[in-house]
Symmetry: C2
Subunit: 238 residues, 2 copies
Amino acid sequence: MRRGGSASVRSASSRSPAARSTRRVVTRHQVRDALERLILDGTHKPGTRLVQEQFARRFNVARSVVREALLELQSSGLVESVDNRGVYVGRLDAARLIEAFEVREALEALAVRLCCERTTREELRGLEAMAERIRDLGRQRRPTEMASTDRAFHDELLRLSGNRMLVSLSSSWRVFGKVIRVGRDPEQVFREHMGILRAIGANQPERAERLARAHIRVAREIVARRARSGRFVPEWVS
Amino acid sequence: MRRGGSASVRSASSRSPAARSTRRVVTRHQVRDALERLILDGTHKPGTRLVQEQFARRFNVARSVVREALLELQSSGLVESVDNRGVYVGRLDAARLIEAFEVREALEALAVRLCCERTTREELRGLEAMAERIRDLGRQRRPTEMASTDRAFHDELLRLSGNRMLVSLSSSWRVFGKVIRVGRDPEQVFREHMGILRAIGANQPERAERLARAHIRVAREIVARRARSGRFVPEWVS
DNA sequence: GCCGGATAGACTGTCGACAGTTTTTTCAGA
DNA sequence: TCTGAAAAAACTGTCGACAGTCTATCCGGC
């Protein structure tokens, strides 16, 4: 066993002999998730270099494991790699943010349209419960939980669309989750969410699409306005 | 130097000393491209296992290089990985194809809308030339070249939209390029392409979007009809 | 001082080997 | 002949080492 570290990914009792049916934990995935957290929570700012050996020591794993974890992260756009020079936390300027919103608008519009054909009453009730929870968290001034629940709500819409590619593509704009704390009025967000759900429930795809687009566009406009007036948190802009 | 093989990725003179400014060729990328070709040209059918050591020997590289190349391919959905069991050529059933077309329709619609604002006369002329080339290749019964030029045409539309995320996402449905030989009438395809370009040139985003959607949907319908009647080439269906 | 080439350090790319897991084969017993 | 446990084979995951590349530093000439 190698010397332990407090930040080590592998715990001392990483594998109990009793748990035979459980598959071996693939270290690469743990490292990937740990790196993702470190980037999304702002520990490593966009544009900064991620030195492989540094993380290998920190997580107590071989450098090749870090390499492979970084390759996995590359697909979601969270990091960018330059041959022979290194891997960098994905830069994100205002333009890139807008582009992500444009794509997101198009794909969520598709999602809610598809939802109209397939979503059941139970599923709709579940979505309504989530929408209420988002509103309540907003009322209670718990923005972090509100944001993560909002993300879960939109993910669920994608999932219920039945189109698996939509789900897999959502990671492309997930990257920006931490950057934009749009800070909208919870009551208004709730109304918009419920409007979309009602349109789905009434099987009105055109209306659902229009409302979903409007919902995403509000966030985009807020971000765009901030970008124009230079009110970004500096370290988040490349 | 290791023993050579006819299929080796690294040639004997892989690095001329004169070309100093040229960066070292990253073997991983060459292996990735070679694997991609092998999958897209049908050598390795969907669902089959890709054994790392096999390709390591074949390409005359270390297994870790193959591992990393496969990780790169995973992001485009070309291969799927199961922990501790191996990497498989991505399965694609009819449903997955339809889903890809749905996403593609939404994103190309976005692309042509964005193109209306930014595309210059020269760029439009370039696109028209490509459309003519596609038609000519179709007339000359050169389906492979026609298909690849058609792909280039649609890629160019994405690129000219100015939205970089669209370009990076296009690899998601590129996967299916080889499967679907839709075989449409070249003259009709040409008319549809030109219709889209004219709408862009006239700065009519709504019309451009409608035509682009219709264009994609025709291909989707053909594929869907084939799927319903079971007229897929068997090895391409999982 | 400062400009450009040599040199040293840091880091990435590649490699072969070992460890652990899954799959196949073997073989004793019914 | 069939079943199922045990052994063997095949393969993936992880590791440490070496080789090549990039970057920063040093130093001599101007």
